[in-house]
């Protein structure tokens, strides 16, 4: 074969270079071809621009750091080629003999080919990185022909949405997608053309399995080669919408009862005021004794009561009615297109339902209700609300004794729930104290206070843990200290209930001793209120003559003897005498 034919074979070989997928394979191929075709004895492939050089591979240098030294040197057997003017890297080739012009020519052709392959490899890597980035995104990304709506490309998420692979997808058109956005595709394209910053639209998309979900699509016009393209990035906004719905719900609903809140109530008041839904009736309701329940039984029971009331009234109204909790214990209901007569019937029905409900519930529900009706459009609903509110207060006043009765009932129930005393204790105390009071010539007001004191003097025990109150064995010192707090707690509870305020101090003093060694204040003698001193004796006597979990009841005689033993110490000696006389008279 002639020399020229040999050169042609080399050129043919150079242009048979593969486009390897890995840098390592490229280096191996450069080594194979350059050593075989040119007898290259050392070579190095360096990538990166001047500031970021990296030796991708070398051959014949023994050590990598030799590469950097050697390629800087000059020599007539060395060939250094700047790939893409040095921006892509360097190719260093070295042979035994000085380079001939033929060698230089062939090396240059070879280096240019390496340049192309390396460039392609870098581009492919970049593309892979970009593709991988695209595939990692949870948004569906589409490249669409702006002219006819055909898909050019899409990422995995997009394929998943459309339940097809990329090959199938590129045969599809945007109109094949079931969405309100694609239905108006032409208008959307028009808008995108006019929107320099791109366009964001919201709508829905239905998958092949029928699942429909809300989407937000960001659209932008771009050029891809000579084609005008739309880049559409679609995001499933189900969670966002649900969150918005939740926020909206929370902003218009009361978290505790699930009823509308004051904000929604006010918005509806404004809206209905301008509407044609007249006559509009408004009911205002107030839950009696909520504060007492919260203070005595705890907020959990108070909340339970609120939820119970909310359940009752929610069932009594139409979906068009606005049932709202507008304050701690205040409720209001707007009833559009409801006459005065109808709302009165509603009130009646509510009262009946509450009564029925109370029959099988431990805590009684007591509600004051008021109503008013705006007959004609233009009438102020706020005025109507005010009128209904006033009527509610009048209702509260009209049922004047009811709140007190309700309060007492609640407290009694609460005490019973604690179950720390045998039944009948209160009644016996009331009787004994009344007899003593009469014997001492107390006024009717004092007798009334004494009766109430007998009934609720231990209200503070609601604040003492059950396990201490119900402990069958003797109490520890710490537990005794806890028990001793109950007169003070009772005092605070009574102070919070107007009708109990007059006996609050009496409750606090019912464990004070005549000699000043009682608690909580250590008062002595007549510093202790008379009514409290009376109660202390009756209470001790009844306790001694009743069975306890840890001992049997004492006889009347033994109990009286114990009272006598403690007179002048724990009890007022004069009052013990009076008490003894009454007991002996009454129970003989």
């Amino acid at each position: 074969m002639s020399f020229d034919t040999s050169e042609l074979l080399i050129l043919y070989d150079i242009f048979s270079f593969s486009f390897p997928a890995r840098e390592k394979d490229l280096v191996r191929e450069i080594i194979e071809k350059s050593t075989r075709m040119f007898g290259v004895r050392r070579l190095a492939l360096i990538t990166g621009d001047r500031e970021h050089r990296k030796c991708l591979g070398y051959w014949g240098f023994q050590r990598k750091h030799d590469v950097w030294e050697e390629i800087e040197k000059e020599g007539d057997n060395r060939f250094l080629y700047n790939l893409r003017n040095g921006k892509l890297g360097l190719l260093y080739l070295e042979q035994v003999n000085p380079l001939s012009s033929r060698d230089r020519r062939l090396y240059t052709i070879f280096a240019r080919r390496v340049e192309e392959v390396l460039n392609e490899l870098k581009r492919t890597e970049e593309l892979k990185r970009f593709r991988s980035l695209m595939e990692q995104i949870n948004d569906a990304i589409f490249l669409i022909d702006a002219k006819n709506g055909k898909f050019f490309d899409a990422n995995q998420t997009a394929c998943k949405w459309l339940s097809c692979n990329r090959n199938k997808l590129v045969k599809m058109n945007v109109l094949d997608i079931q969405s309100d956005i694609t239905k108006s595709w032409k208008q959307i394209i028009r808008k995108v053309r006019g929107a320099e910053e791109g366009l964001i639209v919201e709508g829905w998309y239905r998958r092949k399995n029928g699942r429909k979900f809300p989407v937000s699509v960001s659209l932008r016009l771009t050029e891809f080669g000579e084609e005008e393209c739309i880049v559409a990035v679609a995001r499933d906004i189900t969670e966002q919408k649900q969150a918005e719905k939740q926020i909206k719900y929370l902003s218009f609903h009361d978290k505790l009862t699930g009823l509308y809140n004051r904000t929604y109530f006010e918005e509806e008041m404004h809206r209905l005021e301008k509407s044609r839904s007249f006559p509009v009736s408004i009911i205002v309701g107030d839950l009696d004794g909520l504060k007492i329940i919260n203070d005595t039984l705890g907020h959990y029971r108070g909340d339970e009561l609120l939820r119970r009331f909310a359940r009752i009234i929610r069932d009594q109204f139409r979906s068009s009615d606005v049932v709202a909790r507008i304050g701690g214990d205040e409720f209001a209901i707007i009833l559009p297109q409801t006459s005065r007569q109808t709302v009165e019937e509603v009130i009646f029905r509510i009262r009946r339902v509450i009564e029925e409900n109370n029959a099988h519930e431990q805590l009684p529900l007591s509600i004051s209700l008021g109503t008013a009706t705006a007959e004609n459009p233009g009438q102020s609903l706020w005025e109507t609300f005010k009128e209904a509110d006033n009527r509610m207060y009048r209702d509260k006043l009209a049922r004047g004794t009811d709140p007190l009765r309700a309060t007492v009932r609640v407290l009694k129930l609460a005490l019973a729930e604690k179950d720390y005393l045998a039944s009948g204790h209160t009644e016996r105390l009331k009787k004994m104290t009344r007899l003593m009071g009469e014997a001492l010539g107390l006024s009717s007001a004092e007798l009334s206070d004494l009766s109430l004191l007998a009934e609720i003097h231990d209200i503070g025990k609601l604040g003492v843990p059950d396990y201490i109150l119900c402990k069958p064995s003797a109490l520890s010192e710490k537990e005794k200290e806890e028990i001793k707090k109950h007169p003070e707690i009772g005092y605070r509870i009574a102070c919070s209930i107007p009708v109990l305020v007059p006996i609050a101090e009496l409750i606090r003093q019912h464990h004070e001793w005549w000699n000043g060694e009682g608690y909580p204040q250590g008062l002595r003698g007549e510093e202790v209120n008379l009514l409290s001193r009376i109660l202390a004796i009756a209470d001790a006597y009844d306790a001694m003559t009743s069975d306890r979990p840890y001992r049997k009841a004492l006889s009347k005689e033994k109990a009286l003897a114990e009272l006598r033993r403690c007179e002048g110490i724990q009890f007022d000696p004069t009052l013990v005498g009076v008490f003894e006389k009454i007991i002996l008279e009454q129970y003989e």
Binding site: L9, Y12, I31, E32, R36, G39, R41, Q62
Partner: protein
């Protein structure tokens, strides 16, 4: 430098090894390096131990070969020993196993081991398992670790074409699927390399290949294209044609690396004796016995050219040439011996692929003869 050559064809492994070694050492004195060639009929370990018992502290390198080349012809059964003594000579050996795992990296490892001897130049004798997956990569890996200051010669070991198991050894022991190599400084070698095959027809491109298997040429099944080049042959006649029409890969200086086709697979791919790189231009090669012999004579002439008093001659001649030429192989040897002369100690082997350089760069060849003359 004193050189000793010994041959023995006794059937007993120990006896053959010992007698051949004794014959060589008698001529050279206590050697610095010993080359041991055996054929596959011996218990290799016993031969090695017997030789080691004679050569003392000498380094040793060797392999099992399809045939040992002597001045009197090819010994298909026998033991050949070459001992060289020289007080100035520096020698290192290396027996690197698992050459099929990752040829390039294994070659680099072997190169690093030889370089650790501190020898900075010289000749590397490379004796890989001829069946190894990628001997070209193995050699390239070695070169990468050793650098350009060395000359490479050698050949692949074989087992009389049984394709079963080959052996490589150094003084450290016997191994299979390995590379035995020695680095020798102190003998200057002049090397001739050639094959006598000529390109015919149009150039083609190996468009799909993996290791030794070529799937596609010019984008079509390899055998279809190969058959067309020969005017249409069938698979049954392939072994005959394959022997006579190898492929040539263009190389530096207008040379060709020969690739010897071995068999056709059912999928029309062709398995070669040695790996063929993908995306490489190839041409069909043809040769006559006359051409091959002429080339062998020229190779010998190059090897001895200008050398006043050669001390040793190594011949690595492809077993494929031996099989192709048949009785005329004797003529090739005769021609070579005539050029080298009667007084130069000579040892050679039929190789399963040859290691030799083009422009100082080592390659793995097929159907080639390499003659190295040292002094």
């Amino acid at each position: 430098m004193l050189v000793g050559i010994g041959y023995n064809q006794k059937g007993d492994s120990v006896l053959a090894g010992r007698l051949a070694a004794e014959q060589a050492v008698e001529q050279s004195g206590e050697p610095a390096i010993t080359f041991l060639l055996t054929t596959e009929n011996y218990a290799q370990e016993l031969v090695l131990q017997a030789v080691k018992g004679v050569i003392g502290k000498s380094k040793l390198v060797g392999l099992c070969t399809p045939g040992i080349i002597t001045r009197d012809g090819v010994l298909e059964k026998g033991v050949g020993v070459c001992t060289i003594s020289d007080s100035e000579m520096q020698v290192a050996t290396c027996l690197q196993g698992d050459v099929n795992l990752s040829s390039w990296e294994i070659g680099e490892e072997a190169g690093r081991k030889l370089r650790a001897s501190g020898i900075d130049s010289g000749t590397v004798f490379v004796f890989p398992d001829g069946f190894a997956t990628n001997i070209s990569d193995l050699i390239k890996g070695m070169y990468n670790a050793l650098g350009p200051n060395f000359t490479y010669i050698g050949g692949g070991s074989g087992d009389n074409l049984k394709f079963f198991k080959t052996y490589q050894f150094t003084e450290q022991g016997v191994s299979s699927n390995a590379l035995a190599a020695t680095l020798v400084k102190g003998i200057s070698f002049q090397i001739g390399i050639g094959h006598g095959w000529k390109p015919v027809g149009q150039p083609m491109v190996i468009t799909k290949a993996s290791g030794k298997k070529v799937y596609e040429i010019n984008g079509r099944p390899a055998f279809e294209v190969y058959s067309e080049c020969l005017g249409g042959i069938d698979k049954e006649s392939f072994p005959c044609y394959g022997m006579k029409y190898p492929l040539g890969i263009p190389a530096v200086g207008g040379n060709f690396l020969i690739r010897d086709p071995l068999k056709v697979e059912e999928d029309n791919s062709i398995v070669f004796v040695t790996e063929v790189p993908q995306n490489t231009v190839v041409t069909l090669m043809e040769g006559t016995v006359e051409n091959l012999i002429t080339t062998a004579r020229e190779v010998a002439s190059i090897a001895v050219s200008g050398l006043a008093s050669p001390g040793i001659t190594f011949i690595f001649d492809c077993v494929s040439r031996y099989l192709l030429m048949g009785k005329e192989f004797e003529q090739e040897l005769k021609e070579v011996m005539n050029v080298i002369g009667p007084d130069v100690p000579m040892i050679g082997m039929l190789s399963f692929g040859e290691v030799g350089t083009f422009s100082g760069i080592p390659f793995f060849h097929n159907k080639t003869i390499i003659i190295a003359v040292g002094r």
